[in-house]
């Protein structure tokens, strides 16, 4: 039976991921400003990335760059000595794609602003209703 302290140390990273997910989700649902929604989307993305990275970590292991001596000297590489590199690879590309999607999202927000003159969701909806009825 492990103590409460061990349990907290073993799981608090996942709880941080959940908190960040909730912050991002809440911002996407409840905030009316489009830029706030985009910030929420980015927080959501980084929470997912944090989840992957914390799954890949290993106790007592070092960063995934193999120690190597001068050319010719070779030594056995044990998988337990190095942190799991696979989540890092997947998330590295995900970060760069996230900045690309951020650019597209901001361009869309800018287009909406030039059309309706505002970034607030409720004001945009009002203007759409007006243009449909009037």
């Amino acid at each position: 039976m492990e103590s409460i302290g061990d349990l907290i140390i073993a799981k608090y990273n996942y709880w941080a991921v959940i908190t960040l997910l909730l912050i991002g989700l809440y911002a996407m649902i409840a905030k009316k400003n489009l830029v706030k929604k985009i910030i929420g989307m980015n927080i959501f993305q980084t929470a997912i990335i944090l989840f992957y990275v914390s799954i890949g970590s290993k106790k007592g292991a070092t960063i995934p760059i193999i120690l190597h001596g001068p050319a010719g000297s070779s030594h056995a590489v044990h998988a337990a000595d190095y942190i799991n590199p696979l989540p890092h690879v997947l998330m590295l590309t995900a970060i760069v794609v996230s900045v690309a999607t951020l650019g597209v999202a901001l361009a869309l927000a800018m287009k909406i602003y030039s059309q309706y003159g505002t970034l607030e969701e409720d004001e945009i909806l009002e203007k759409i209703m007006e243009s449909e009825t009037g």
Binding site: K11, K58, L92, A100
Partner: protein, 276 residues
């Protein structure tokens, strides 16, 4: 809407908190994620590719298809930004502002007139509030070449240290963006035009895909760099290392150009005459 959002968030949070006890504990070396595929990469990447940084080896060699299409995604994001906000017609501004460099006096010239360009005594500015700051301009001008050099180092040294095409490309793009912020957009567009950034971003994807096709023509699988050994004149392990460097530089060119391109479109709202 606010209460609905809170309720939805807390329901999801409660569920996730409940299942978090079934996750492997943090730092567990025997978690399912680190037992199956990744030990192969850790134990074999050095002898397969002679690249000590496992992340780079997996990124550009073992999972090369993934990275190829991520690069294509970034390129299409640049294209999407261009098609969304770029406006083609060039409207003449109501008034142009020029600053006399020696005295700091600002001239306002109405529509139709303009000061001769290229005399070197006057500098066109975007609006009246643009500050004339020698320190910021000179510091950025001094720093930008070193940032670019560092970006090239990050791309080239990605085999042995953290880094690679994505990071180096973003740093290179950030150096050009810093130049655009510290001076203005027109001067940056003279150094790196929109056309060249578009061409470079497609060139980067083309280098990556072309390396894969070259491998295909040499008789091996797509992106199997071992086939490049005959062209490069090295053994197969070194050919994989060199192939990684080639595709990483393609990724770097594409990412740098796309970052600069998106910045041009966003900062000028598509007009590309006045920047931030």
């Amino acid at each position: 809407m606010r209460t609905l959002g809170l309720i939805a968030a807390f329901c999801l949070g409660g569920l996730l908190f409940f299942i978090s006890f079934d996750f492997p504990s943090w730092g567990d070396a025997l978690s399912p994620a680190s037992r199956h595929v990744s030990p192969y990469y850790i134990e074999h990447s050095l002898e397969d590719t002679s690249v000590p940084n496992i992340v780079t080896a997996v990124l550009a060699d073992y999972r090369g298809f993934d990275t190829l299409f991520e690069t294509a995604v970034i390129f299409s994001a640049g294209l999407a930004c261009f098609f969304l906000v770029r406006v083609s017609e060039r409207q003449v501004p109501a008034a142009r502002f020029y600053r006399h460099l020696a005295t700091g006096i600002t001239f306002r010239i109405e529509k139709g007139g303009r000061l001769p360009e290229g005399t070197g005594e006057f500098e066109r500015i975007d609006s009246l509030w643009v500050p004339y700051d020698v320190i910021i301009g000179m510091t950025c001008r001094l720093v930008v070449p070193f940032i670019q050099l560092f970006a090239l180092y990050v791309i080239a040294h990605g085999h042995h240290s953290p880094g690679g095409g994505f990071q180096g490309g973003v740093i290179f793009g950030a150096a050009i963006i810093l130049f655009a912020i510290s001076t203005n957009l027109r001067r940056t567009l003279k150094r790196m035009s929109e056309r060249s950034s578009a061409l470079l971003s497609s060139l980067g994807v083309l280098i990556y895909a072309g390396t894969g096709l070259l491998c295909l023509f040499m008789g091996a699988g797509f992106l199997n760099y071992r086939a490049l050994a005959a062209i490069l004149g090295v053994d197969q392990v070194a050919a994989r290392s060199d192939g990684i460097l080639i595709v990483e530089s393609g990724v770097g060119i594409a990412v740098a150009a796309v970052m600069v391109w998106i910045y041009y479109n966003l900062s000028s709202a598509g007009k590309q005459d006045e920047g931030l």
